[in-house]
């Protein structure tokens, strides 16, 4: 394959394609404002995200980022401001997949909606930001990508302008987001102040060599790092930066909730993986700031998963339950960072990345099912969902798959990724009490989560409906997206070998 003959900047193609798609959508909008040609708009967005996905997969298969004679190695762009390696491609794939699912589903969801072109271009722009975030290798590019993701997200949450909940959620999201961005950017400045550099590898070099006055600025650097963690926690909806999530997810159109809770969260995590594995090598950083930064992630992981799951347990509103479950899952993935200090930490991180990929399908699917329910207009609470399976067995079957997979019940993919996460964690926890506590928290929270996930399945399949329903419509796009996500949730399991290898290799490459 001819990747070698392409200029280096072409390695960013998955992100560039998305950017291009957004521009095309703007073009369509300027030619025909207020266009309601859903097929054209949605089709363009889907085509763009699918091409991005195809290119990312192609690069991965062709060996970009992988070492060895036949492969292309890690590609640095713009003097190391961007880097395209396995980790970046892996997350570009997750983001493109979620974007594709969301745009397919939006086709039906946006029926009779006013701002079609704006909606799709904002989604694709946000996806561009996430994709860039996966490849960013400097605190500047990271911040720009972060804002490129966040700003369209605020608008998207509030896009149902006539809906009070949507607008309120958008505003809250924006306010918390602004606060978090401020904290993050302040953190960036502190780190720059301490190390004199913004490029991640150079920060690491400075920390390792102890050049300049960095050794005396432990507290400053530590505060900077903590603030960076704050920014990450905001993107990944981790405690205590999670407050926006339940309301934004509940108020936003369901496909946007899916998009934010899956793709945006994944982007937040790639940011964390990138920054903390590249810029702050554990030993050197610990030497300077006097404390192991993985401890922060361990605390965040425990608090986040516990709070997410406990709050989800008694929710009456399905979307809100999913929002908290999404916070809980962020807690699981944080384990990947918390375990980095131990031997075998790269395997834990690989398992966490795998969980993110699986999560990309099952969580997106679950939110899209809620979108379907909103499309039908059945209501928002568990009780409103009672007996839906009688009318829509396929969709409800898919939802049962998502729920059980999220809970981590075999044989669905969610079980395998969580199982791998758990076993690798136990292996790494050989002489590390903190990790053992994490493993215990993981088990307890998973057990609790089965309660509220199965509650929904019970409502769908076992409970009698409160009132008789007419036949439910079967919107093609939403159905296709839900079923596709369900199929992937199931068959990712046979394909797990390659997926697992890709995740573990990517993790090993950045940790090493």
């Amino acid at each position: 394959m001819a990747v070698l003959e392409l200029p280096d900047w072409m390695a960013l193609a998955p992100a560039l394609i998305l950017a291009g798609t957004a521009l095309v959508l703007f073009l369509i909008d300027s030619i025909e404002p207020h266009s309601t040609n859903r097929t054209l708009l949605s089709g363009t967005a889907v085509a763009g995200s699918l091409s991005s996905l195809a290119v990312a997969v192609w690069f991965t298969v062709a060996g970009v980022g992988a070492t060895g004679i036949e492969n292309y190695g890690v590609i640095d762009i713009m003097n190391g401001q961007f880097v395209v390696d396995q980790l970046a491609l892996y997350f570009m794939i997750i983001i493109a997949v979620v974007t594709a699912l969301v745009t397919v589903a939006s086709y039906d969801y946006l029926q009779d909606h006013t701002y079609q072109a704006e909606y799709y271009s904002l989604v694709v722009l946000a996806a561009t930001g996430m994709s860039m975030m996966a490849a960013s290798n400097s605190l500047v590019t990271i911040f720009i990508a972060l804002e490129l993701t966040s700003l369209p997200s605020y608008a998207l949450v509030a896009i149902l302008k006539d809906n009070r909940g949507s607008v309120e959620a958008g505003l809250k999201y924006f306010l918390i987001g602004a606060l978090s961005s401020a904290i993050f950017v302040y953190g960036v400045s502190l780190v720059y102040g301490a190390t004199g550099s913004l490029q991640l590898t150079r920060i690491a070099t400075v920390l390792e060599s102890g050049d300049g006055a960095v050794g005396e600025m432990g507290g400053l650097l530590g505060l900077g790092i903590l603030m960076l963690i704050g920014g990450v926690a905001f993107k990944t909806a981790s405690v205590p930066f999670h407050f926006w999530a339940p309301e934004a997810y509940e108020g936003a159109p369901a496909p946007i909730s899916a998009f934010l809770s899956s793709a945006s969260k994944a982007a937040g995590f790639v940011l964390a993986f990138r920054v903390f594995t590249t810029a702050f090598p554990l030993e050197a950083t610990t030497g300077i700031i006097g404390v192991d930064w993985t401890l922060v992630f361990a605390i965040l992981a425990i608090v986040t998963m516990t709070l997410g799951n406990f709050a989800a347990a008694t929710q009456e509103n399905v979307k809100r339950m999913l929002a908290y479950s999404s916070i809980g899952h962020a807690g699981y993935v944080l384990i990947g960072l918390a375990a980095l200090s131990a031997d075998g930490g790269d395997l834990v991180m690989g398992a966490a990345m795998m969980h993110l990929l699986v999560y990309g399908f099952m969580n997106t699917g679950a939110f899209l099912f809620v979108g379907l329910a909103e499309y039908w207009g059945v209501g928002r609470t568990f009780e409103d969902y009672n007996g839906l399976a009688e009318r829509a067995p396929f969709a409800c079957g898919a939802m049962a798959v998502f729920m059980f997979s999220l809970a981590g019940v075999p044989p669905f993919s969610g079980f395998w990724s969580k199982y791998l996460l758990y076993t690798e964690l136990i292996n790494a926890a050989a002489d590390n009490t903190v990790l053992l506590v994490l493993a215990a928290a993981l088990v307890i929270n998973s057990a609790l989560s089965l309660y509220y996930y199965s509650r929904l399945v019970k409502a769908l399949w076992i409970e009698e409906p409160l009132l008789d329903r007419d036949r439910l419509a079967q919107p093609t796009g939403l159905y296709a997206a839900v079923i596709a996500a369900a199929v992937m949730t199931v068959v990712l399991l046979p394909a797990f070998g390659p997926v697992a290898d890709a995740a573990l290799e990517a993790a090993a490459a950045v940790v090493a």
Binding site: L179, F241, F243, W244, E247, G290, V296, Q315
Partner: protein, 682 residues
């Protein structure tokens, strides 16, 4: 390792596969087949018999066969003896012992299938498809058990055999007693199998292998461990071998109905008589003793285990024989005789008499199958009456049945020259020889010897009550006729019961100094054998001293004369009491003993008490613990979780300034913790 055997041994799996195929065919198509599935069964068992005979001939020609067919799992655990990794496989081991047993099992199974034509089909039974399907599965399980090359595979088929007996004993499941008897058989044997399973795990964990034969076998490993004086799980090697051997013996005692697990067997008479014949002669009950013979090398390492086997065997032989004396049902008498006869086999094996034990196993298979099928024929004759007091005078009306049954009875009682005499005598001689040096064995021998008298008595009491005298009921006056399907198996087994003893005429050989102890040669690997699994090898391992009275010849003659005399005395007593035109019960002569015997020494009562008086309250207590403590904890956990959930939910107030405050507060909290740990504030 794939099955790459060339020559006749390549067909070995077919022995078990034939009945399995018959099982499937009967199950699927049985309804549409003529004779409701008897034909596939007959063809399959005939096929098994042919292949078994080929195996037998091949072993006689100096061959042996040991191969792994399929490895279904393996593990990397290191065993107590530092063997790394363990493999669990299905494999085939064909050596003299298993070849002999294969022939016996497939022959008896074939004859039982043929007899069933007369006993089940001709009598218009319903559910025949189920009957023949289960019979096929039963035969398959037993044959696969016999040629199993490792303990775990043996265990699996051992369990299948148990399952099939459960199904067949409960064949008439609409009656009240049959399902109850089936359950009893299942539970009692399962109780023993529980220990067997622990034994299998213990052996696997100790030696890292469950193979029966070869350098990789647990027998060899145990021998090495004892020689090296290794300590296993805190015990010295020999003690540990004894413990594991006795655990496995639990399964044996259950299946072979040895004291105290014998209680299921008399109840198992609720099954069709053909099934009883199969269970008692060649499958279920035989499986236990066969397992001891199969892993005899292991037991041979532990004199303690052997002594326990011998003592239990001797005790059971006497114990069951006394109970048989007072039974009125013809099948009940046979049931107790089975228990008693397997006691002899255990006695024989327990004193190191490997040949004697196997010899008696073989002879018993023939004469007990014969007696049960004969009893089946009597039951047909008597229009399904089983009480011997309702019979009488059948001698002249059914000569084929009478003479074949008589041959079986003579063999059972141990009257020269019928087969039972030779093997029982050999068992007792071996026991005596060891007993002269070991008081415990001498006690076992004494019990076995005493049982000979009772055996002669109850056997001929049965014969006289059934066939002699005047008919005592209308049915006996006018018996139903029996067909060829009944007679042919009886004649075949009658012949075998008469002549099978000539396979090993040890006393004659001793007297004439002739080499005619063929079975001993056979089991000693004169023809073909697997290294280490020979009588010779076992004999060297067994640590018992042997004594003689005078010379070996006099001891042998003394022993033979003593047992023959006692058997004849028993038969004669029965003759005087019951071989009269109008026999009476003579029960008052026994006084209080009668009630004890009639109640089977209250064995059932105490076992029922164990279940109802001990296990049930224990189960109730466990249930109460589960209901209150465990459920309480579980419910408490969920209550606390839901309560916690309710609290956590309230953090989300909906007011964005609160969020900002909490966010910053949380961040500062983190900062304080980290700053404190990192010493930033210093």
């Amino acid at each position: 390792m794939a099955a790459t055997a060339t020559g006749p041994f390549g067909f070995a799996p077919a022995i078990a596969v034939f009945p399995l195929v018959a099982f499937v065919i009967t199950l699927v198509f049985g309804r549409h087949l003529p004779k409701k599935g008897a034909l596939p069964g007959i063809l399959a068992t005939a096929g098994s018999l042919v292949v078994s005979v080929v195996m037998f001939a091949a072993v006689a020609g100096g061959g042996e066969h040991h191969t792994t067919l399929y490895e279904w799992t393996s593990g990397a655990a290191t065993s107590e003896t530092m063997v790394e990794g363990i493999e669990f496989t299905f494999g085939i081991l064909i050596d003299p012992l298993s070849a002999l047993m294969l022939v016996i099992v497939s022959l008896v199974a074939l004859l039982v299938h043929v007899f069933s034509l007369g006993y089940m089909n001709a009598e218009g039974e319903t559910g025949l498809r189920r009957y023949y399907a289960e019979l096929g599965l039963f035969t398959f399980s037993m044959l696969a058990f016999v040629f199993a090359d490792n303990l775990l595979m043996a265990f699996m088929f051992f369990e299948l055999v148990g399952l099939c007996s459960y199904l067949l004993i409960g064949f008439w499941f609409r009656t009240e007693s049959a399902p109850s008897a089936a359950k009893k058989a299942f539970l009692v044997t399962r109780f023993g199998d529980y220990f067997f399973l622990i034994g299998v795990v213990a052996i696997a964990a100790t030696f890292g292998t469950v193979g029966f034969a070869g350098e990789e076998s647990f027998v060899t490993a145990a021998e090495t461990a004892i020689d090296d004086g290794t300590t296993l799980f805190g015990f010295d090697a020999e003690t540990w071998v004894t413990i594991t051997g006795l655990l496995v013996l639990g399964g044996v005692l259950g299946k072979s109905a040895q004291f105290p697990f014998h209680t299921w067997l008399p109840d198992a008479m609720e099954g069709p008589t053909t099934v009883s014949a199969l269970i008692h002669a060649a499958t279920m009950v035989a499986a236990g003793v066969y397992l001891v013979a199969r892993m005899f090398g292991y037991y041979a390492l532990s004199p303690t285990a052997l002594a326990i086997i011998a003592f239990v065997g001797g005790f059971t032989a006497l114990f069951a024989a006394t109970m048989a004396v007072v039974k009125d049902d013809i099948k009940q008498v046979l049931a107790y005789s089975t228990i008693s006869q397997y006691g002899y086999m255990m006695l024989g094996l327990g004193v190191g008499g490997y040949v004697a034990g196997v010899f008696h196993l073989m002879n018993h298979a023939f004469f007990k199958a014969l007696l049960f099928l004969g009893a089946g024929a009597v039951i047909i004759l008597m229009h399904h009456e089983q009480d011997m007091w309702e019979m009488g005078g059948l001698k002249d009306k059914a000569p084929v049945t009478y003479y074949t049954f008589l041959a079986g009875a003579l063999a059972l009682a141990g009257i020269v020259p019928f087969s039972g005499f030779w093997s029982k005598d050999e068992v007792l001689f071996d026991a005596l020889a060891v007993g002269l040096e070991q008081p415990v064995i001498l006690a076992a021998y004494a019990m076995g010897l005493l049982a000979v008298f009772f055996t002669g008595f109850y056997t001929f009491r049965m014969v006289f009550l059934t066939f002699h005298g005047e008919p005592r009921s209308a049915a006996a006056e006018d018996p139903h006729s029996v067909g060829w399907a009944v007679k042919v198996p009886l004649l075949a087994l009658g012949t075998l019961a008469t002549v099978a003893g000539f396979a090993n005429l040890a006393p004659v050989a001793e007297l004439l100094h002739a080499d005619i102890t063929f079975l001993e040669f056979w089991l000693d690997g004169k023809y073909g054998a697997v290294e280490g699994l020979t009588y010779h090898a076992y004999h060297e391992t067994v640590a018992f001293e042997e004594g003689v009275i005078g010379s070996e010849t006099t001891t042998m003659l003394l022993s033979a004369g003593l047992s023959l005399g006692l058997a004849l005395a028993g038969a004669f007593t029965a003759h005087t009491l019951y071989n009269v035109p109008e026999p009476s019960r003579h029960t008052t002569k026994l006084g209080g003993a009668y009630r004890v015997l009639k109640s089977n020494y209250y064995q059932d009562e105490y076992q029922v008490w164990l279940a109802e008086g001990l296990t049930l309250p224990l189960a109730r207590a466990a249930d109460r613990f589960d209901q209150t403590v465990i459920d309480g904890v579980v419910n408490g956990t969920s209550t606390i979780s839901l309560f916690g959930s309710d609290r956590v939910k309230r953090i989300q107030t909906g007011i964005v300034t609160n969020y900002a405050a909490l966010l910053v507060g949380g961040f500062i909290g983190l900062l304080l913790v980290l700053g404190y740990l990192g010493g930033w504030f210093a």
